[in-house]
Point group: C2
Chain length 313, copies 2
């Protein structure tokens, strides 16, 4: 059983031993109803999926759970998940008591990496970096064939690498993080700034003429239609992604970088732009040239990573 | 047996099973005499150290060798070592034939990391980043208790992370690498530029009044004496080191960063300056605060890493 717990949706899937999904359910998280309600809803979705799949509780080997925030993986305690309003929630213990099944917890970006490694673009690749570009920017590392978590389960914070010292403020409190200049939030903000200056007419048109509706999706739609200003915004974001990823590549020497998340799905040509930017900073090819590829699992990466985590239990 | 093969010196040490050095020899590399002469000299130093230690050849379990450049670790072929004038040299095969003992080869920065991890500042630390600041800037990673080499043995190129896009040209061909703005070479160059503008009188004095003799060592000596311009140059280099290392810390979540190399030995107060810069970019402490420490082995880090490599054979 895999669960992807997001700020908006809970996505739960039951898979067989080969990772084929047998039954799945998506419900709204409704985080505003509070921690206990969300925990209760998690248990409910597991029970619903079991019913759908016609599988008894004792037919489940383990539950994998992805959470949107930093955590203590061994103890399964979520330190802080702003999208859920959670602080120090012992989600592993709560679910294990309620379900009577081992529960393994990790953060959503790590499980996205594990999902793409096990079932997606990174199958068979032992050294892989996964980056998800959506509202924020997250990352996960597969090193020597396994998820690498670091000293205190904090590895992979690619979105908070500083790429523009003294740049725009990030929600983490630092300035010039990759997330602050290349996430969907940043691209949407820059689109709105353009429109507010009376420019970006193609972008405004893609938002049906409503300046407040200019988001990364509108910028991507305009760019897909060939709009030069939208393309310039995305190329700028791709340049920052390429700079950050080139640095990660120099430190880790991966064979593959997988780019996922809603912004990449909405603008698949970003992968080529980022690839170009990575190559502009690359070292000579003594150590092999890294490949960049789009993620294959789309919105399923997290839940499939949770399935992979449970299968490895 | 450990050997640290540098562009200037060959440092060879025989150690017992606990890593205690029994006998050691340092000779000039004399790389200008060519590849065959250097390979012959390596064999000679091994034989000399064995004689000094009173140990027969068959008393050696393995030889570890550090080389100054990228290589194929499994096959022991050095791709390129500019300081030696080497290209595609099968040093493992040559030495194994000459010595009749297993030879393990790795690059000097990786062996510095392994040396500090096994015998120095990183003993008992499973997640450690090692950086050496001297003529260039190198790095080595200890992840989950072991040396991490990446897909094609190219991991740890911390010196070639881009920290100043469009910055000064690096010898690797890219612009604004950490090495191009914070190595001993960069600090020396900036010192000479200051002096050429008629400034940096304290730095010039530390170089005995000879502008051409201004090096990182002279800058460090002036800084140690409280010279404000020298301190500003070092603080600038420390800022770049802190920026690059903060990014590495976000990606890898290590418990410890060990700073070594001639520049750090010549200016131990750099460690505090870099620590401050790393903290200025750090994320909140959910994942534990990384420690920064000075290397403990000095010029012995590489040869002791080679000993550790041989002990692990």
């Amino acid at each position: 059983m895999g669960i992807d717990l997001g700020g908006t949706k809970i996505y739960t899937a039951l898979a067989d031993a080969a990772g084929r999904v047998v039954a799945e359910v998506k419900v709204l998280t409704e985080a505003a109803r509070g921690e206990r309600a969300v925990l209760h809803r998690l248990v409910q979705t597991v029970e619903e999926v079991l019913r759908l799949g016609g599988v008894p509780r004792n037919g489940v080997r383990a539950v994998g759970l992805g959470v949107p925030g930093p955590l203590d993986v061994a103890r399964g305690i979520v330190y802080h998940a702003p999208n859920l309003g959670w602080r120090d929630v012992p989600v592993k213990e709560v679910l294990e008591k309620a379900l009577g099944v081992p529960v393994l917890v990790d953060n959503d970006a790590n499980l996205g990496a594990l999902g793409e490694h096990t079932f997606g673009a990174g199958r068979g690749v032992d050294h892989m970096v996964y980056v998800t570009v959506s509202t924020g920017i997250g990352g996960g590392l597969i090193l020597e064939g396994r998820l690498y978590r670091g000293w205190r389960d904090g590895a992979g914070e690619i979105g908070h690498m500083t790429v523009v010292p003294e740049g725009p403020l990030c929600r983490c409190g630092n300035r010039g993080c990759l997330e602050a200049v290349a996430s969907g939030t940043a691209i949407g903000r820059e689109g709105r700034e353009l429109v507010a200056r009376g420019e970006g007419r193609g972008i405004l048109a893609a938002a049906r003429g409503r300046p407040e509706a200019v988001t990364a999706a509108a910028v991507s739609a305009a760019a897909a239609g060939g709009d030069a200003e939208a393309l310039a915004l995305l190329r700028r974001a791709a340049g920052f992604l390429g700079l950050g990823l080139a640095n990660v590549v120099k430190v880790l020497n991966p064979a593959l970088v997988v780019l996922g998340g809603g912004v990449v799905e909405g603008a698949p040509f970003l992968v080529g732009m980022v690839d170009e930017a990575v190559r502009a900073h690359a070292l000579s090819a003594a150590h092999g040239a890294v490949r960049l590829e789009a993620a294959l699992l789309g919105g399923k990466a997290g839940v499939m990573g949770a399935v992979a985590l449970a299968l490895g239990a």
